[in-house]
């Protein structure tokens, strides 16, 4: 095992230690906050680069090079079956993801120093960011589905803390809760999938020298078994785990939390809700790909699980892009764009495999982080204004922000020959390849293409609104460029994107070879040419439509209706209202849940309690009968006897009259009880 693998655990541990130390640091120690969090992240980046180099060195000509290190976490029973191991793994998937997360993360940490400068809870912010980074990096390096799940949930809680960072704002608090709960819905599926996998394979380690759950033996066992309905167990497990991915990656129908998550500070949106955490769902599918792609021997067609991944991805891609068209909040547009792009990644994995989806994931992380940080810079420069209708003309005020933003935006929209074009193109090529036999199988490709038109359109719309024309934000203040500490990360990310786009570099060829261990899918050049042509057309159609509607006509004032709104008011309303999904959930799921809660409470108060009351009443009645029986049947006899004795006694004990009666009564009752008990005892034996 190489030294890089041996020290892999340090990569998540360093930020974790920073988070722990910061939690115990006094509140106003800003220097410690900066130094610890950025320092730990920089070290993590160095270690990650070392891991990537090592992984490249290990890569041979055949297959994927992989090193892992497992250890026992707990044991709950006798023998090997009762031992639960966790572990870390270094393979190409881990390596590229690590470098991306630490690099983007480091730049976002630096950006935050400027962005959060005036916040009273500065230290806490960096504590939470470090916690997030630790959990995210742990998720990437883990060689066990359980460790991945643990980090997955910790990522969720870090996200909860950061979305609700401005907790005094009720919307932020509500959004934080919504994010946690919505993703947890998916996580319940994930949990069930995980325990099912555990039950079937007896391990949760991914790789364990042939005994791991992603290796040949385990996969073959899962494929061979069928669950209820004749579906292969592997497919059921894959789909349950996919539920978790749907929640985390904001796929339909659990996408509703992601736009609301924009209530958090903008660096959070960039780091968590654009570049890294939301991509964790895609990463999970990529990691578990052997389970997803497994098909019973001799089965017709592709793997059912992958088909579902494809369809969910394609639907989400178009659905969210449509919504993005009619949003006015600069961050919400980017949020829906993120949802849509995550859909593309899922589509990519579904049709083209790990490399296709992951390549888009990595590239998207760079340009979407850049866009979010750019948006943060714009918001900062426009005095916390987020409505693009109240911006305008800021390209002259904020040139650095503008040019870097433009690079990110052109990558996202797929300007030919930029790296964003390449990554999207690969998805579309894979969607087309082998799927031309019927309209249904072609549909994901067409949806992807339509999504590309929309992407181009909404991004150009946003840029024309925000950066061109006249400033519409009132006269009190004019926008200003952000400080150097915020601009520098923008430049860094933009430079990385330009670097990746250099034609000589051809990152895709290298990337797919690296991730898939040399198994390159040969795709006919005819298909490639068609797709390139169509992608360019899609880009141009979207861009020119936006140009006509928003640039040539210009935007007159902040409250003028949108150009689309004038033409198609009803359609625009629906899109602006986000297809009313939130309202639908409000009226269905949330109402139903509240109703169930009420019913459970009523059941408790009325039914269970009612039964108790009834039983109590019966018991009380019984007690009354017993008392009556006592008084009028048993006591009567004794009273009679007592009176006799009493009569006699009264004469003899006149001075103490009345006393003896009570004594005798006590004795009499005791006697009766004693006799009764004895009789009962005798008859019993």
């Amino acid at each position: 095992m190489s030294e890089a693998t041996q020290t892999l655990w340090l990569i998540p541990t360093l930020p974790l230690l920073a988070a722990g130390a910061l939690a115990l640091t006094p509140r106003d120690n800003r220097t410690a906050a900066k130094a610890l969090s950025i320092g730990s992240m920089a070290l993590a980046l160095l270690l990650s680069i070392r891991g990537l180099l090592e992984s490249l060195r290990l890569q041979g000509d055949h297959g994927v090079a992989r090193e892992f290190f497992n250890f026992v976490w707990l044991s709950f029973g006798a023998g090997e079956a009762g031992v639960l191991k966790l572990g870390v793994v270094l393979d190409p998937l881990t390596a590229v993801m690590l470098v991306m997360v630490t690099f983007v993360g480091l730049l976002i940490f630096i950006f935050s120093v400027g962005y959060m400068e005036h916040d009273a809870n500065f230290k806490q912010f960096f504590c939470f960011l470090s916690l997030f980074a630790a959990a995210m990096l742990g998720l990437i390096v883990s060689n066990s589905l359980l460790l991945l799940f643990i980090c997955w949930e910790l990522v969720g809680v870090a996200s909860y803390l950061l979305i609700g960072f401005w907790f005094h704002n009720p919307e932020a608090a509500a959004a934080a809760k919504k994010a946690f709960i919505t993703t947890r819905i998916g996580d319940m599926g994930f949990l069930l999938g995980m325990v099912w996998l555990y039950a079937e394979t007896g391990t949760l380690l991914f790789y364990d020298g042939g005994a791991g759950c992603l290796e040949q033996g385990a996969i073959a066992a899962m494929v061979a078994k069928t669950a209820a309905g004749g579906i292969a167990v592997s497919t059921c497990i894959a789909l349950l785990i996919f539920c978790g991915a749907v929640g985390k990656s904001g796929q339909l129908p659990l996408h509703v939390w992601l736009p609301d998550a924009m209530e958090g500070p903008t660096p959070v949106s960039a780091l968590i809700h654009a570049a890294t955490m939301v991509a964790a769902g895609v990463f999970l599918v990529a990691r578990m790909f052997p389970v997803f792609e497994a098909v019973p021997p001799g089965a017709e067609g592709g793997a059912t699980a992958l088909t579902i991944v494809t369809w969910v991805g394609a639907t989400t891609a178009v659905f969210a892009a449509l919504i993005a068209v009619a949003q006015n909040d600069i961050k919400r547009i980017l949020a829906y764009s993120t949802v849509s792009q995550l859909g593309y990644m899922m589509l990519g994995i579904g049709v083209g495999g790990v490399a296709v989806g992951m390549f888009h994931l990595i590239m998207h992380a760079f340009f979407k982080a850049l866009l979010f940080l750019g948006a943060g810079s714009v918001i900062h420069g426009c005095h916390e204004e987020q409505d693009i209708r109240k911006m305008g003309g800021i390209k002259d005020h904020m040139p650095w922000t503008f040019y870097t933003y433009a690079i990110g935006m052109l990558c996202l929209t797929g300007l030919p020959f930029l790296v964003g074009f390449v990554s999207k193109d690969e998805i579309l090529v894979s969607a087309l390849h082998g799927n031309t036999d019927s309209l249904v199988s072609l549909l994901p490709f067409l949806m992807g293409l339509f999504g590309a038109v929309l992407t181009s359109f909404y991004m150009f719309r946003q840029v024309f609104y925000a950066f061109y024309g006249e400033y519409r934000g009132g006269d009190e203040h004019t926008p200003h460029e952000s400080p150097k500490v915020m601009v520098a990360p923008l430049v860094g990310l933009a430079a990385a994107l330009v670097f990746f786009s250099l034609p000589k570099l051809n990152p895709w060829g290298w990337f797919s070879g690296f991730l898939e261990g040399g198994h390159h899918h040969e795709i006919p050049t005819g298909h490639v040419a068609v797709v390139i042509f169509l992608s360019v057309v899609a880009f141009l159609v979207g861009a020119s439509l936006a140009y006509r509607l928003y640039f040539r006509r210009g935007i007159r004032s902040a409250d003028a209706p949108d150009a689309l709104q004038e033409r198609f008011p009803e359609a625009f309303e629906t899109l602006a209202g986000r297809f009313h999904v939130d309202e639908l959930y409000e009226a269905s799921v949330i109402k139903a849940n509240a109703w169930l809660a009420k019913m459970a409470d009523l059941l408790d108060r009325k039914v269970w309690n009612g039964i108790t009351q009834f039983v109590t009443q019966v018991a009380v009645m019984f007690a009354w009968f017993a008392r009556l029986f006592d008084e009028y049947v048993i006591n009567l006899g004794f009273d009679f006897g007592c009176r006799r004795v009493n009569d006699g006694g009264r004469f003899a004990t006149k001075p103490q009259s009345g006393q003896i009666q009570s004594y005798l009564r006590v004795i009499g009752i005791s006697l009766a009880v004693g006799v009764l008990l004895l009789t009962w005892g005798c008859s019993g034996s």
């Binding site: 026992v72 976490w73 707990l74 044991s75 709950f76 029973g77 006798a78 023998g79 079956a81 009762g82 359980l146 799940f149 643990i150 980090c151 949930e153 910790l154 809680v157 909860y160 609700g164 907790f167 005094h168 704002n169 009720p170 932020a172 608090a173 509500a174 934080a176 809760k177 946690f180 709960i181 947890r184 819905i185 319940m188 949990l191 069930l192 325990v195 099912w196 555990y198 039950a199 007896g202 849940n593 509240a594 169930l596 809660a597 009420k598 019913m599 459970a600 409470d601 059941l603 408790d604 269970w608 309690n609 039964i611 108790t612 109590t616």
Partner: protein
């Protein structure tokens, strides 16, 4: 060495049990009636019991031969009736007395302010502690039952005399429910004695089930006693009122430790003695466990009183234990995989018992702090934005709530994961049907964080005080345990492993 040698031979468990009893007498007869001094005395007595427990832990054999009992004391008592004084612990017992030893001093310290008649109040708590130690170590029905009842009586008076406005009704309900359960159990064991001529739990587990001594009717009687205590829906309706009307320190004991007596009974007594009957009634019992999990979570969501909400949450958490206990009692082939699944489920149960005890006690402790600051107000909507002025309060309570909802990295997750792992393999549908419980738990626990601590500060509480150092010290051990057991659960699994393996082997025979 001399001291330790002496301690090795000493009747540690008896000392442990009777020390708080003597302490209760001393506290009750103190001359001072000053609450702070009486509390200090009671706290000292209660805390000192941790020493014998720590000693037993340190000298606990992880893998004793046969997974057997340790620190056993056995003396004839009433030979003609087969009554012995027989105490001892295994991993389960050790964790339960440790839990008692942690929660009881915490509850005593949490009783700040001055309860009326402090001598009696603290004496009763010590009395209760003694009863708990006794009930978790006794291995002969006779004195086990004495301790079981001994726990009931002080808690009845504590609820009745120091509780909230409707405490008398609550105390009565609590008493009647548990009493009915106890009497049913007594009848059951007397009948069992008639058949098997033994009161010894170990003997009963080994012998009675084979010769037809354990019958369905007896099983139902005993089941009733435990089901009320845990509680299992529909025997739970005493609980919300009791938990919310009891003084908060007593609620800490009720939920932290006393609710574990029921689960303990299931694991120690019901499963080993009545495996055939549990198996026969498995469908109904599993359904009840699932209902308990889901309905109590939903009912918690509908509450506005924090204490009632957490009371239902407690029912919910112990519902998972019940689910796992029933799943583990399922008949399977003797394949080692099934043994592993049952071990996972039962390990999960024991770990969950301990973790829930600590976490729930801590959360009620926080609610007590809130009550002290608000003059008794504790509605979920009565506050708002407290995090701004009491960040440490919010942080520590937040950690406890997240531990309760089963966040990985904190203690609650380990138990729930092991339970779900085991239960899913043994009874997939039950596990799947129980998952909504996990979800709804998150909803209402986050609702507390949202409504009480987030949003704009409710001006009425502008003077809400941050946790004092004393209060921080009080909850710090519990919070530390949440982290330690979340990250390194093997610390306790080491203790329970042999016990679990023994129970699983018993079940397989």
């Amino acid at each position: 060495m001399g001291v330790f040698g002496l301690m090795n031979d000493a009747p540690l468990i008896s000392i442990l049990t009777f020390f708080p009893l003597v302490g209760a007498l001393i506290v009750g007869l103190l001359r001072s009636n000053d609450a702070a001094r009486v509390r200090a005395m009671a706290f000292a007595v209660s805390l000192v019991t941790l020493f014998p427990i720590a000693f037993m832990w340190l000298n606990f054999e992880t893998y004793p031969a046969g997974g057997g009992l340790q620190f056993v004391e056995r003396h004839d008592w009433i030979p003609s009736l087969g009554v012995e004084y027989f105490v001892g612990i295994d991993g389960l017992g050790l964790l339960m007395i440790l839990l008692t030893g942690i929660v009881a001093p915490m509850a005593i310290q949490a009783s700040s302010g001055s309860p009326k008649n402090p001598r009696l109040y603290f004496a009763l708590i010590l009395f209760l502690q003694a009863g708990l130690y006794g009930a978790f170590t006794a291995l002969n029905f006779f004195h086990w039952f004495l301790f079981w009842e001994l726990v009931l009586i002080p808690s009845y008076f504590l609820i009745r005399n120091w509780g909230g406005p409707r405490c008398r009704a609550a105390a009565l309900q609590f008493f009647i429910f548990t009493m009915v359960g106890s009497i049913a159990m007594l009848v059951g064991f007397v009948a069992l004695y008639q058949n098997a001529a033994s009161f010894d739990f170990m003997e009963l587990a080994e012998g009675a089930r084979n010769n037809g001594a354990a019958t369905m009717a007896i099983f139902v009687c005993v089941l009733l006693g435990f089901a009320v205590k845990v509680p299992l829906i529909p025997f739970h309706s005493w609980l919300p009122a009791t938990y919310s009307e009891a003084p908060t320190p007593v609620t800490m004991l009720l939920t932290g430790v006393m609710s574990k007596m029921g689960v303990y009974g299931f694991v120690r007594i019901l499963l080993p003695i009545f495996p055939a009957q549990v198996e026969a009634a498995l469908g109904v019992l599993t359904a009840l466990a699932v209902l308990t999990i889901v309905l109590s979570a939903l009912a918690a969501l509908a509450q506005t009183d924090l204490k009632r909400m957490l009371a239902y949450s407690s029912v919910n958490h112990l519902g998972y234990c019940m689910l796992a206990v029933f799943a583990a009692s399922q008949y399977t082939s003797v394949d080692p995989q099934w043994a592993a699944e049952k071990s996972a489920a039962l390990s999960g149960v024991i770990i969950q018992m301990f973790n829930h005890g600590v976490t729930a006690a801590a959360i009620f402790c926080f609610i007590g702090f809130i009550e002290q600051r608000s003059g008794g107000l504790r509605g979920v909507d009565d506050f708002g934005g407290l995090r701004k002025i009491a960040p440490v309060f919010c942080g520590l309570m937040g950690i406890s709530l997240f531990a309760s909802l089963g966040l990985p990295g904190l203690s609650g997750f380990v138990g729930e994961f092991l339970i779900f792992k085991g239960v899913f393999a043994l009874n997939s549908w039950a596990a799947a049907l129980a998952t909504p419980g996990l979800l709804v738990t998150a909803v209402f626990l986050l609702k507390i964080l949202q409504r009480v601590f987030s949003g704009p500060l409710n001006e009425k509480w502008a003077g809400f005080a941050e946790l004092t150092t004393r209060e921080q010290m009080l909850v710090a051990p519990a919070v530390a345990l949440m982290f330690v057991l979340g990250v390194y659960p093997q610390l306790f699994l080491n203790l329970t492993n042999s016990t679990v393996v023994r129970i699983v082997n018993q079940l397989a025979n």
